[in-house]
Symmetry: C2
Subunit: 194 residues, 2 copies
């Protein structure tokens, strides 16, 4: 039952299925069969559209990076002062779209992957550098020289909170995570004003 123009639809479906499959089985535990089954197609079709498992996983990673960039940009446009811009970034990190269990653990799986995979490391480094640069830029007027260290601290805490949120045993909520992050930032800003 072939309908024309399926390519972009199937690619999208497979990428989304990959996120969920990674959540269930882990990045290396997942098989093309898992992903294809979830997308409702045959494993052969996944190969047809992506050429290889590596390519499909790589596309999945780019998809996540793109979604986050979009969420952050959307929140940044109507944030005027530096403090609001910092908050926009924090909110983007814990918005429901970004923060479903499946999306979070796929993100973290790619973090782990980039420990020993150069290609993944390159993609992730771009994302992390940009995130820190944005934070540093907006923090500079607020804390001066401490901006760089604070940006690194915030970036680290975001990832730590994601990591803990991904562990089902701890059942942490996004709201709680945001609160902890804001307390951190407020504490540093208070010290800087002294």
């Amino acid at each position: 039952m072939p309908k024309r123009g399926m390519q972009p639809i199937r690619r999208q479906e497979l990428v989304i299925a990959a996120v969920e499959a990674i959540h269930e089985r882990g990045l290396n535990g997942v098989t093309m069969g898992d992903i294809a089954k979830r997308a409702g197609v045959s494993p052969a079709l996944a190969h047809h559209y992506f050429g290889s498992k590596d390519e499909l996983l790589s596309a999945t990673m780019r998809h996540l990076l793109g979604e986050f960039a979009f969420a952050a940009r959307r929140r940044l446009v109507d944030a005027k002062d530096p403090r609001a811009r910092v908050d926009a970034i924090l909110e983007a990190c814990f918005a429901p779209e970004q923060f479903s269990p499946a999306v979070t653990s796929a993100w973290l799986a790619f973090y782990m992957q980039s420990i020993h995979d150069k290609a993944a490391a390159r993609l992730l480094a771009i994302y992390l550098k940009r995130l820190e640069a944005n934070l540093r830029h907006d923090l500079r007027p607020l804390v001066g020289d401490g901006a760089s260290a604070l940006a690194r601290g915030i970036a680290a805490m975001i990832d730590g909170l994601w990591l803990h949120a991904a562990l089902p045993t701890l059942h942490r909520s996004p709201g709680e995570a945001l609160g902890i992050l804001r307390d951190y930032v407020d504490g540093r800003l208070a010290v800087a004003r002294t």
Copy 2:
């Protein structure tokens, strides 16, 4: 060339080799062959002493948990006031023994594993709960009701800093990580004293 009494020695060697192999190949990418080769024995011997790959990896996880508990206890004995006790825990997390690239990425690999593996999740939950309970206990006299949230924040930041330290692209140092953590704690303590 069989020498008697090799069992404990080989088990130890294999566990340490497993940590390094996990660092290079990831938890699911690693094979019994990788680990055995690094330990200088045949794959069959690894099976002989551990029965299965799962058992070897589980023993490796327990090894890491045990080493950390030891490092923390050692630093806690001569920490007198609450603030010194908090610092003892932070220092244990970033002490050179705990903080080699291989050890850090093996830790994180087990974090990821426990997203979809019940047995790993149980072990890790015990560790995390105990860490947070210790922090909370020592923070209570310093920040009162905020102790619980601050303990969670510190635990999250520790793991985030580990995660970033494991990414070779960012080349972060343990000293920097400790500085960021201490700034966080100091900021919150200053706010609490107000």
